[in-house]
Symmetry: C2
Subunit: 300 residues, 2 copies
């Protein structure tokens, strides 16, 4: 299961109590921080995110509303005495930005920080439950989307039934992979007699800041949850294009083309105080749409 918490949903500047972009994706064991606008650490406290569970941070691009909160989050973790390794993925220049600020404060972090500069599409990280890859999106400066896919879980063995068929424990790993068992007499025990399917592996794609780009649909095809930015309502399509952003309708079209299960929209321009029209416009094209409201936790 994946659970996405929205910590910030506004574009460019904070407005109407809305904060710049930050999200936390949680699996059973870990939490993944996606972008980190100014005030993210304060938002984590507000929404009771367990900060110690965050070991991986993904920064889409170096516009401030997506990363100005990173240095504060890292140094606070250090002040709180964190010792676990931290991995940060982002545009290469980010490493220098972090380092100059640590140097200025004469600070050495209490944990090891591994910086991974993103320079091409492909795999970034994986642990036992999740694989993360990145893909290019079209923005004014280099910008990356992130795709989080749960690894296929092993089938669950009904140990009692497996023993009743006299299947040896040494064969259990094969059972978890879905293989049938042939006993000494040559009888076949079908796998589904002794195992049950694992929950389906879920997926989440984060499309950062981007122009409307139909080729994105292929990259995020069939994901359970898609976040696509909607800086503007549909009447401002020209302005969106000029500023390398998208509208409600464009985000919904990507969701439809990609055949995703659910669309989350955010990165609202500060020109809008009310957000209702965002939901209305996107839902007309892709009904299963939700606004990325701060504090909201969405499961996939």
């Amino acid at each position: 299961m994946l659970a996405l918490t929205i910590l910030g949903n506004n574009s460019a500047i904070p407005a109407y109590g809305r904060n710049p972009t930050a999200q936390v994706l949680q699996t059973q064991d870990e939490a993944y921080l996606i972008d980190c606008g100014e005030g993210t650490q304060q938002q984590m406290i507000r929404y009771k995110i367990r900060r110690s569970k965050i070991n991986h941070i993904f920064i889409s691009h170096l516009h401030g509303d997506h990363y100005f909160g990173l240095i504060g989050f890292l140094t606070s973790m250090s002040l709180l005495g964190r010792t676990t390794d931290m991995h940060v993925f982002g545009p290469p220049l980010l490493e220098e930005i972090i380092n100059i600020q640590l140097r200025a404060a004469d600070t050495t972090l209490s944990f090891r920080l591994y910086f991974h500069g993103i320079t091409k599409e492909g795999p970034l990280a994986n642990d036992k439950r999740l694989t993360v890859t990145c893909f290019k999106v079209k923005h004014r400066i280099d910008c990356w989307g992130f795709l989080f896919r749960e690894n296929k879980n092993p089938r669950s063995i009904d140990i009692e039934r497996a023993r009743s068929y006299e299947i040896p424990a040494t064969y259990f790993e094969e059972l978890q992979k879905g293989k049938d068992y042939r006993n000494k007499k040559g009888d076949i025990i079908p796998n589904n007699q002794v195992t049950t399917a694992a929950p389906a592996a879920k997926s989440y794609a984060y499309c950062a800041d981007t122009l409307f780009d139909e080729t994105l649909a292929e990259k995020v095809k069939g994901v359970d949850l898609l976040y696509h930015e909607t800086t503007y309502l549909k009447d401002l399509e020209d302005r969106a294009a000029m500023r390398f952003h998208s509208t409600t309708v464009q985000a919904a079209e990507i969701a439809k083309l990609a055949g995703v299960k659910k669309l989350i929209i955010g990165h609202f321009s500060s020109k809008y105080e009310l957000l209702d029209a965002f939901l209305t416009e996107a839902s007309e094209v892709f009904p299963n749409t939700e606004l990325a409201l701060e504090g909201l936790c969405i499961s996939a």
Copy 2:
């Protein structure tokens, strides 16, 4: 008149809803931003600070809780279309930290930013109403305190009375300076017959992060309002010294030694949820003490 608004009062990390250090000092015409921890721009919105009135920013030192909000504030001002010059005063490395982040975002600010690296004690800025100087305080890294002094206001002329004595308008500037007038007959018209005193010039000293240092008292002697950090309660004097910070009693002793009118204490350690004891302890040594509570506006 000077009016000080507290935007953040916590040390090191945000905690219990308290934000890192930031203050705004307002005169009749201008606003001066003093330190700018993460989330300062959000706090300015919350407490209705007129951001466009801020033309001077003073950063005491490069620990993140005193400046991580600066780059966000500057870029937001640019996104809002500011065109007025902005002056930033702080440790020289801050200029590079600002510039690398602007470069990473491929951003040119909409206004001219003048950076003034602080390397020695002395005058920093002055306009018609206010003169700002800086003084060294004792911290783990280079750190500066700031002294804001209203310029002596000219005396107000009672024009009707001045005319009744046939004092020519060309002499009014001398009257404002306090000079008497001698008319053609040789009679002396005493200045106080035709002018009234201006309101007293006020002063505010900001002592940033500092060890207990008695020599500070001389530097802030007799100010109307003194802000002195109190990271710890008095029982943690040793820890305060080790970390180059001060206690309640130490701050109050500086206020007493300096003979200031009022003491404001802040920069509370995140280990304290409640702040009552800070006020109690400091007030025992210096009765006219107030806590730097966020949102509070204190006049001098």
